[in-house]
C-alpha cells in the first residue's frame, strides 16, 4: 500500500557504516543497516530499494528524503549524498541534511533514565575520524526529550575533547582519554532511524513534538518555526567535511605561483 496521507520519509546515512530507514509519523516502518565501512557504493542503493519494498512505500508516497551529512570519511559519505540527491531529484521531494552525530545524541537521550546516569546533563557524541582523531559534538537533552546540539561538530584529537561522558564509537577507540557513558553506547554508529526522527520532528514543529499519531497537523515543510531550540537540525544536504583535502601544492607550482 502506498501512503499518501503525509509524513512518510526515507532516511539514509553513510557517515560510518550505512543505514536506511522509512519512517511514518515517527514510527519506523522498515530499516536496514551495516557496520561495514567499505561497501557503501555497492550496497546502499539496493538497500534503499529493499527497505522501501518492505515499508510498502514508493517514491510518490514520500514527503521527503533525509540524508546524514556527516561528518564521516569522505568517500563513503559522498555515496549516500549522491544517492539521496538523485532520489529526491527524480521523485521531486525535498531533500534535508542532518548532522550524522545528531543520531547518536538522539539515541542517547532516548535511553531509559536508569541506563545512563547523566541523560539530562551534557554529553558528547563521537565517531571515528581516522588519523587518530574523532568527529564530535556536544549535546544535552531538551525539555521534550530530544537531543539539542550545543557545540560542534568538530574534528580533533580525542585528548582535546571537553571532559564529558561520550557516546558513539569514538569512545571505544580512545578509552585512555575518553570516558564512555556506557560500554554499550561506546559501540554506537550513526543511524538513519534517528536522523529521520529528528527531521520529522523538525518538519512537524507546531504539532505535538514526538507525536506518533496520524492525527498530527500536516507537515509544514517550510523553514522550521522557532520552538524550544533556536537551531534547526535541518541543514543543506552537503557534506560536513570539516577537513580540507590533503593535497599539497608541489614545490614547482609554489615557485611559479610565488614569482
Amino acid at each position: 500500500m502506498t501512503n499518501y496521507d503525509g509524513g512518510v520519509i526515507l532516511a539514509i546515512d553513510s557517515s560510518a557504516g550505512a543505514s536506511v530507514a522509512v519512517l511514518d509519523d515517527g514510527q519506523v516502518r522498515a530499516q536496514w543497516r551495516t557496520a561495514v565501512t567499505t561497501t557503501h557504493a555497492e550496497v546502499l542503493a539496493e538497500a534503499v530499494a529493499q527497505t522501501m519494498r518492505e515499508a510498502e512505500v514508493t517514491g510518490a508516497g514520500l514527503r521527503g528524503v533525509v540524508v546524514g551529512v556527516g561528518p564521516g570519511p569522505f568517500t563513503g559519505l559522498r555515496v549516500g549524498l549522491a544517492l539521496a540527491h538523485s532520489l529526491a531529484e527524480v521523485w521531486g521531494v525535498p531533500l534535508h541534511g542532518v548532522c550524522s552525530l545528531d543520531s547518536l545524541a538522539q539515541r542517547a537521550v532516548a535511553q531509559p533514565a536508569e541506563s545512563s546516569a547523566s541523560a539530562e546533563g551534557e554529553f558528547l557524541a563521537a565517531s571515528d575520524a581516522r588519523r587518530r582523531e574523532v568527529y564530535w559534538a556536544r549535546y544535552r537533552a531538551d525539555a521534550q526529550g530530544f537531543a539539542e546540539l550545543l557545540d560542534g561538530p568538530q574534528v580533533s584529537a580525542a585528548a582535546e575533547l571537553p571532559d564529558l561522558p561520550v557516546v558513539g564509537v569514538g569512545a571505544s577507540l580512545y578509552p585512555q582519554v575518553l570516558t564512555a557513558r556506557s560500554a554499550l553506547e561506546s559501540q554506537w554508529l550513526p543511524d538513519a532511524v534517528e536522523l529521520g526522527l529528528l527531521a520529522q520532528r523538525e518538519l512537524r514543529r507546531g504539532g505535538a513534538p514526538g507525536s506518533t499519531g496520524p492525527s498530527a497537523t500536516p507537515d509544514t515543510a517550510g523553514p522550521a518555526q522557532p520552538d524550544i531550540t533556536a537551531r534547526s537540525v535541518l541543514r543543506d544536504p552537503l557534506p560536513l567535511y570539516l577537513r580540507d583535502s590533503d593535497a599539497k601544492v608541489p614545490a614547482q607550482m609554489r615557485a611559479k605561483q610565488a614569482s
Binding site: 568517500t75 555515496v79 538523485s86 531529484e89 593535497a247 608541489p250
Partner: protein
C-alpha cells in the same frame, strides 16, 4: 526500415561520466546526440599542476544535479522518457567514480530504469558513432555500428592505450598501453618542470610552437629491439609505451642549464619533448594497427587536441593505408555523451543491464565492456 522509424526505435539513453575531473551528463537517441553537458573542476586543480582526486570527487557531488538538469533541459526530455541510464563504472579515480555511480543508481532506482555500468575506455570509442548532424546508417541492430577492423588510440591524462574493436558491445581487445605514466600525465609533469602551468597539453603545445623539435634527442621509451622483437616473435612491450624515462630526461636537461646558470631553452625543450611523445605514440600505434589488420583508427582522449599528434598520426595513418577518424575535441575529452552512446549500443544489442550492486572498478580491464 525508414530513417524515421529507426530513429524512433533507437534507445534513448542518459550517460553519466565522473571518472576524473569532468562531471558529464549526456543524452543520446541511438547515435544521435541530444545533449552533452560537462562541468569541469579543472580550475580547482590548476594550482596543484594535476588532478587532485579528493577535490575532483567533491566537485562531482556539487555539480551532478545541476549538470543533470541542464542536460535534460538541452535535450528537451524528462528522465521518465529515457530507456536506460548508463554510467562509467571504471576505470578511473575510485572516489570520483563512486559519486557518479551512486548518483546513477539513484536515478535508475527512483525512475525505475535499467542501469548499465560501462567501461570508460570503450565509451571513448563509442563516441565515434555519434553524429550530431543526425546522419543515420542502420546496422544489424538498427543502429549505426563501427566499421569492421576498427582500432582506437586513446591518449589522455589517465590513459594511453591502443585497442582493437571487433564489436563495441562484445569484443574489445587491449593491444598495448603505457606501463607507467599516461601521455597526458607526462605533458602535465613536463609542463610543471618547465614552469608552463596546467593543464600541460595546451601549455606545451603553445610553447613548442616556437621551438626546434630536433634541438634535444629525448628517449622514445620501449623501442629497443629487446622490448619490441619482430612481427614473428613480438617482444613483451612491442605495442606498449613508457613515458617515465622521458620525463626524467627532460628534468636532467633542465638541470644542466640551471646548474650552468644559463637560461633554460623552454621552447626547444617543449618542442623536443612533444616530438618524442608524439613520435613514439604514433609509430607504435600505427604499427600495432597494421599488424592486427586494423583499417580504421579512431583517436580519443584529451591529448587528441594536440596539433602535432593529429598531424603526425594523420601522416603515418595515410602512409599505412589506415583511415583516421578524430571526433570533435569536445567529444574526445571526458563527457557523458560517450557513455550514453555506448549505453545505447548495449541496449540495442540486448545486453543485460547491471544490478544496483555493481562496484566502481578503478582498474576495470578494457575487455569488461559493461558490468
Amino acid at each position: 526500415m525508414t530513417d524515421a522509424s529507426s530513429a524512433r526505435r533507437a534507445p534513448l539513453v542518459l550517460g553519466i561520466e565522473t571518472s576524473c575531473d569532468e562531471t558529464g551528463v549526456g543524452i543520446v537517441r541511438g547515435t544521435h546526440m541530444l545533449a552533452n553537458t560537462v562541468s569541469s573542476s579543472m580550475e580547482e586543480h590548476v594550482r596543484f599542476g594535476g588532478v587532485i582526486p579528493e577535490i575532483a570527487a567533491r566537485a562531482h557531488l556539487e555539480a551532478f544535479v545541476p549538470t543533470l538538469r541542464q542536460a535534460l533541459d538541452t535535450a528537451g526530455i524528462e528522465l521518465r522518457d529515457v530507456d536506460a541510464i548508463a554510467v562509467t563504472a571504471g576505470p578511473g579515480l575510485a572516489g570520483a567514480l563512486m559519486v557518479g555511480l551512486s548518483a546513477a543508481k539513484g536515478l535508475a532506482l527512483a525512475a525505475d530504469k535499467p542501469l548499465y555500468g560501462v567501461n570508460h575506455l570503450v565509451a571513448h570509442v563509442g563516441v565515434g558513432l555519434l553524429d550530431p548532424a543526425g546522419e543515420s546508417v542502420a546496422g544489424p541492430a538498427g543502429l549505426r555500428t563501427l566499421p569492421e577492423n576498427t582500432g582506437a588510440l586513446l591518449v589522455s591524462g589517465g590513459h594511453t592505450e591502443i585497442l582493437r574493436i571487433g564489436s563495441l558491445t562484445s569484443d574489445v581487445q587491449l593491444l598495448g598501453s603505457t606501463i607507467d605514466d599516461a601521455a597526458g600525465e607526462a605533458f602535465d609533469k613536463t609542463a610543471r618542470l618547465l614552469g608552463l602551468g596546467y593543464p600541460g597539453g595546451p601549455a606545451i603545445d603553445a610553447a613548442a610552437a616556437t621551438g626546434d623539435p630536433r634541438a634535444f634527442r629525448f628517449p622514445r621509451g620501449l623501442t629497443m629491439p629487446k622490448f619490441e622483437g619482430s612481427v614473428e616473435a613480438p617482444g613483451k612491450h612491442r605495442h606498449n609505451w613508457s613515458f617515465s624515462g622521458l620525463k626524467t630526461a627532460v628534468a636532467r636537461a633542465v638541470e644542466q642549464f640551471e646548474v650552468a646558470g644559463r637560461p633554460v631553452p623552454v621552447a626547444d625543450i617543449a618542442a623536443s619533448f612533444q616530438e618524442a611523445v608524439v613520435d613514439v605514440i604514433t609509430a607504435k600505434a600505427v604499427r600495432a594497427a597494421g599488424e592486427h589488420g586494423i583499417t580504421t583508427l579512431m583517436l580519443g582522449g584529451g591529448v587528441a587536441a594536440n596539433k602535432r599528434l593529429r598531424e603526425l598520426l594523420a601522416e603515418r595513418c595515410a602512409a599505412a593505408g589506415i583511415e583516421l577518424r578524430i571526433p570533435p575535441v569536445s567529444l574526445c575529452t571526458d563527457n557523458g555523451a560517450m557513455v550514453a552512446a555506448l549505453g545505447a549500443q548495449l541496449v540495442a544489442a540486448g545486453v543485460a543491464p547491471s544490478s544496483l550492486q555493481i562496484p566502481a572498478d578503478s582498474s576495470q580491464p578494457v575487455e569488461r565492456i559493461s558490468v
